[in-house]
Amino acid sequence: MYLEKIVMTDFMPYIGTQEVDFSVTPGAPIILIEGENNRGKSSLFTAIRWCLYGRALDRSSKAVQDQFLLNDNAFDLGRDSFEVQLSFSNNNDNYLLTRTCTVKRDTKGKRSGSAVRTFLHRNRDAISTEDIPRYINEVLDESISMFFLADMEILKNYETLVEDDSKAAIEVKSAIEDILGIPSLISVRDALKEIVDDTYKEIQKKKKENSEKSELEQKIAEQTSKKSNAKTQYETASASMAEKKREQDELTSKLAKIADASELIEREKTLIEKNENDLKSIDKLRKEIQVALHESWWAPVSTQVELKVNQTQDQTKLASQRHQSLSEKKFKLTSLENSLVTNKCSECQQDLPIPSREETKISIEVLQAEIVEMSKPLIPSLESLVDESRRLSLFSMPRKAEVIRSLERQIRILQNDAPKRRQEIKEISLALQGVNKDEVKNLELQRQNKDREIGAVAMLIRSESTKLANAEKELTVLNRKFLDAPKSAGDMEISTEMAIASSLQEIMEDTVSRFRIEMKKTVEKNATEIFASLGSENVFKQLQINENYGLRLVDNKGQVFDHKSAGTAQVIAISLILALAKSAARSNALVLDTPFARLDDTHRDNVLKLLSRDSKQSILLIQSGEKISKEIEPEFRKHVSRTYKISIGTDPKESTIALKKQV
């Protein structure tokens, strides 16, 4: 980080706006700022630190409250705020940092608090307020700033500062390691340790997952077996079903062919049964009629009626016999008459002899007489008997006439259907001629059995189908889990990664130690060279660095030299600062507050020569009147880009800073 410019407004002793240009030209890395004691050199130094980190320290390293950084006269004049603006560059980026503080007044008009606002622009881009500290620490970490914004009043005791385990010593040690870049390696080592821990956890997790994965594999195998069994059963049942359906189809086909016969058989069976039932019913009804007649007729009339009926029947029989006999006699008479006409026998067709002709005439006469006799009406006549019977029946109307009539109606109804049914049965019988009724029945039975078998197989298929579907569903879930489970190749990679990270961690641990030792040697070597170049003594062999980055002076005999000299301590501190600047991971501007306070002319001249030659930018806040020896001054001035002088203002509380006119 290199400083470009600072603009202060009402900051500490600086009244109004004061501007200092820190930019340097190539070959002239020095900015000199001269001032009397208590005029504002350290205040300018404080302004830089306050602007960068928002903290101001007094000479005893104690924090100064912001409200007291406002110039007294400005406050008295009613101005309530002060500001420091710092321009600087880092890695080709340009920064403008502005910190403004507004001071509050209490009722008595005294300072009672403050509010600070900070603005940072990088390459003209505004940085958010919360990110500003990170950006500033990236540019120049506050922890290491003590060696670049060096207050020599503090660092003069550097040797004793690092010789204990105090907080200050730890901070200094940490700052030096930061400057040397050691934390970068430590962070890699720590990252490797974390990687080992992370990968270990991942491996443990994967082991657990692998265990679950094995269980999954076992479950998948079981489920696959179940699925396979279900599938086999399903396929067998399906094949059986197909066979049975085929057989059923055959039966159905056969039955279809004789379907009509089958129906006819059934119809015939039904009709016969109906007929039989009707006959039974008729018998039953007749018996019921007889019972009813027996129960209801009046006995005397009943006897007469019975007598008349018997007479009627006898007469009817007689009439029938007479009618038949009459027909025979008429036929015989006709034959005999024909025989007489033809003179031939009606039976043998032989010529009739004379006696026979006579006999025939007699026979004709007898027959004629008999026919006349038989043609007379019967006494009593059949009609009269029927009328008599009807009359008697009407007279002796049975008590159960209605019942009997009803029974007779039923009989008539039953008898009415019977001829039709008989005719139908007859027709069916004709149609079924040549049909084997047993075969039809057998086929029907077979088909019924087949239906039952198919039903059982269908149930089996449904059961196996459900099992198969469940097995497949379960397998899908298990397979998805299995696919989500880590792959063994990944497990191998993580194990290898852990092994590598673990080994690298050990190597980096060793590397940090080696690098620290190496950097210490470098700092020690650089500090020794710088110390040698700053002094004129040749009794000191080297500056030796210890574990705490403390520097001890070792004489030519190899003994630690306890110098007890403030000047030597200052030279050692400057040697360390310059050695660190030379060894640092980054190059930075050096701002040295009163670097020559305890140095003799020789050492001062040597420091100036060294800074002129080796630094990129050195801002030296020096006391007015500190003389630069005439031997080096002309050459030194060539390396000074600018010289400022801090002057007292019109009031002792005011200072101004302005370019010093070169004499």
Binding site: N92, S184, L185, E497, I500, E506, I507, E518, A585, R586
Partner: protein, 76 residues
């Protein structure tokens, strides 16, 4: 005004790492040995030297894991 960024003194760090590798490699696990070489160490020092202010420890860890994994896959 010129500016310079030396960052981590790279060569010194690399030298230290390579020396550590020589002395520690024999103690490393057989699994890790094939991957422990200068290339790996230089890669690590690069990550250390390139770490920016906004690189969180997590980012650095990711970079290192990436380096290790790429080496594993390269060897495979």
């Amino acid at each position: 005004m010129s500016s310079e960024s030396k960052e981590l003194p790279l060569e010194k760090a690399q030298q230290a790492a390579i020396k550590s590798l020589s002395s520690k490699k024999d103690d490393a696990s057989e699994t890790a040995k094939p991957y422990l070489d200068q290339e790996m160490l230089i890669g690590l020092i690069d990550i250390a030297s390139q770490s920016k202010f906004d690189d969180s420890p997590l980012v650095m860890k990711q970079k290192i894991r990436k380096l290790i994994k790429s080496r594993i896959r390269k060897e495979d």
